[in-house]
Amino acid sequence: MKLLEIRNLTKRFPIEDSIFGKPVKFLKAVDDVSFEVDKGGVFSLVGESGSGKSTIARLICGAYHATSGEILYKGNPIGRTKTDYRNIQMIFQDPDASLNPRKNVFSIIEEGLRIHRLGSMRERREKVLTILDSVGLDRSTIKKFPHELSGGQKQRVSVARSLILQPELLVLDEPTSALDVSVQAQMLNLLGDLQKEFSLTYVFITHDLKIVSQISDHVAVLYLGNIMEIGPVDQIIDSPLHPYTQGLLESVPQPDPSKKATNEILRGEIPSPVNPPKGCPFITRCPKAFEACTIKPELKLVGDRRVRCHLYDTGGNSDA
């Protein structure tokens, strides 16, 4: 069953006004993005900074309004049912910025229940304690303030806060980027366990392909607000088709001294989204660019996945 369907989603931000205050110049952060998330699945959005991945997360959670396109939740436009935004919760990258430093752990986690007027004081307390157990925090944490906790513990509190309303969909925006390696592994294991325990659906946003490979079923590779390649994770990580996905994978430093990269992989940098290149968004850095690339390619079906690249115009017969 499709829990979430994104159709032709576009978000533009005004960046320059005319002297009469009418916006004249726009930054296209998300450009005609469509994807579907199965119930119980883990869908990853991966890309470098400026690729629009966090904007998509905020659009799903209703923090931004889309310029055009639709977001369907269980087949209906999102936000139509009152409980939609209770069923969708978000976890942010930096727990220092997303936890209120003046509230203790109990009131941080309980706040959602209070706002939605669920349960009596005693029931809410009981619920908070149970959720602390599920995320692997000691019950004594309840009286502590965020500054008394380590980075990993703080992120566990964020997870507990998002789970207290028993959501169906979690949108996770780089939840492990601020953590140390050993704590990151604990967090990834915890997220995997919780997903099974509460039959959750994840939209997982990250820049780290190792984490994509570890946690997700499906993945979309974003570049300048466009999906470049989208499909099952096994296919995309093990045999990437798009030159950008290939470059991204080769750029991941391998923890193996015999696999030292010997040449520069992708030259240049991601262009500014204010002045995106004409034609294929990746044309400025692509090692395989040719004449056709001055016209923007469509997302085309190649096997089980879709690829935005003229190399596959003939339906995947091209040699990559």
């Binding site: 470098e48 050993s182 820049h207 190792k210 570890q214 946690i215 040449n263």
Partner: protein
């Protein structure tokens, strides 16, 4: 191989109102000519403070640097760091935007280094800066001299920082997490630049990072640090093929892999959190999180044991010594 840097029993002490904090605490290492020493560890392991102490940049008070030996090409760094840093030893930091002056043109910042350290005139310094940037493959350096740092991307600013560090042709370059703030594709470009630079300038390098992938790509030898202590010193091949210390093991297992066989498998993580350094655990600092901890681990700090070509600070490799200790007590 002759040594560029030799450090023995280095301790940096901070006297804080809450108590005395030591990180690093009694570490020893050396860097050979044209060698890359990788220092890897999680936050709070003392890797950045180690770098700053080599540069003589620990503020005193509250900090105090102590060492049995801290020698750079025969000179005592404890006494002469101010004369040596910037010229013979230079440093690249994590965030290039914080280390470049935002209100000065890039050219002026580069020229300043050469005028102060090498007694060059401004036109000479300008010519030399452009030459170095050309060698490092920075596009259109003439144009760049007249611009401000904010006009450039993070990757480009980091390249400028590296060029600035290389201006005086240092014998030792210390890079503290130079790629952590960058995107993966830019990170691989910067790592490539460091590798080229080693060939071009015959510089030794100390490379600090928390990313084991980056270490494998750049280092010749590796020092693993945990909670202010060094736990393992070994060649990069030994660290990845034949790790000895349970912490090194755990760290390697914690990294998600790209290979399909491991996909969706639970990661073997290290339990617990990094301890606070004001009251570090007794004995071996890793014992509360160690899956192989023995009785002695919580009682006595492990000395250095040589295993093959590696040096390990772990009682697992000194069972005989450990038994004698217990019997002696």
């Amino acid at each position: 191989m002759s040594l560029v840097l030799e450090v023995e029993d280095l301790t940096v002490e901070f006297r804080l109102p809450e108590g005395i904090l030591r990180a690093p605490d009694g570490i020893s290492f050396s860097v050979g000519e044209r060698e890359v020493l990788g220092i890897v560890g999680e936050s709070g392991s003392g890797k950045s403070v180690t770098a700053l102490s080599l540069m003589g940049l620990i503020p005193s008070p509250p900090g105090k640097v102590k060492a049995a030996k801290m020698e750079f090409l025969g000179k005592n760094l404890l006494k002469e760091a101010e004369k040596i840093r910037g010229k013979k030893i230079s440093m690249v930091f994590q965030n290039p935007l914080n280390s470049l002056n935002p209100s000065m043109k890039i050219g002026a910042q580069l020229v300043e280094v050469l005028v102060n350290h090498m007694n060059m005139t401004k036109p000479e310094a300008k010519e030399k800066s452009i030459e170095i940037m050309k060698n490092l493959g920075i596009p259109s350096p003439e144009n760049l001299m007249n611009r401000y740092p904010f006009e450039y991307s993070g990757g480009m600013r980091q390249r400028i920082m590296i060029a600035m560090a290389m201006l005086c042709n240092p014998k030792l370059l210390i890079a503290d997490e130079p790629t952590t703030a960058l995107d993966v594709t830019i990170q691989s470009q910067i790592l490539y630049l460091f590798r080229e630079l080693k060939k071009e300038f015959e510089t030794s390098l100390i490379f600090i990072t928390h990313d084991l992938g980056v270490i494998a790509q750049i280092a010749d030898r590796v020092m693993v640090m945990y909670a202010g202590k060094q736990v393992e010193n070994a060649s990069v091949e030994d660290i990845f093929r034949n790790p000895k210390h349970p912490y090194t093991f755990g760290l390697l297992d914690s990294v998600p892999k790209l290979i399909p066989e491991k996909r969706k498998e639970r990661l073997l993580s290290i339990k617990g959190n990094v301890p606070g350094l004001l009251e570090p655990p007794t004995g071996c600092r890793f014992h509360p999180r160690c899956s192989k901890a023995m009785k002695i681990c919580s009682e006595k700090e492990p000395p250095a044991f040589s295993v093959g070509s590696s040096t390990v600070w772990c009682w697992l490799y000194g069972r005989e010594v450990a038994n004698n200790e217990v019997a002696g007590n």
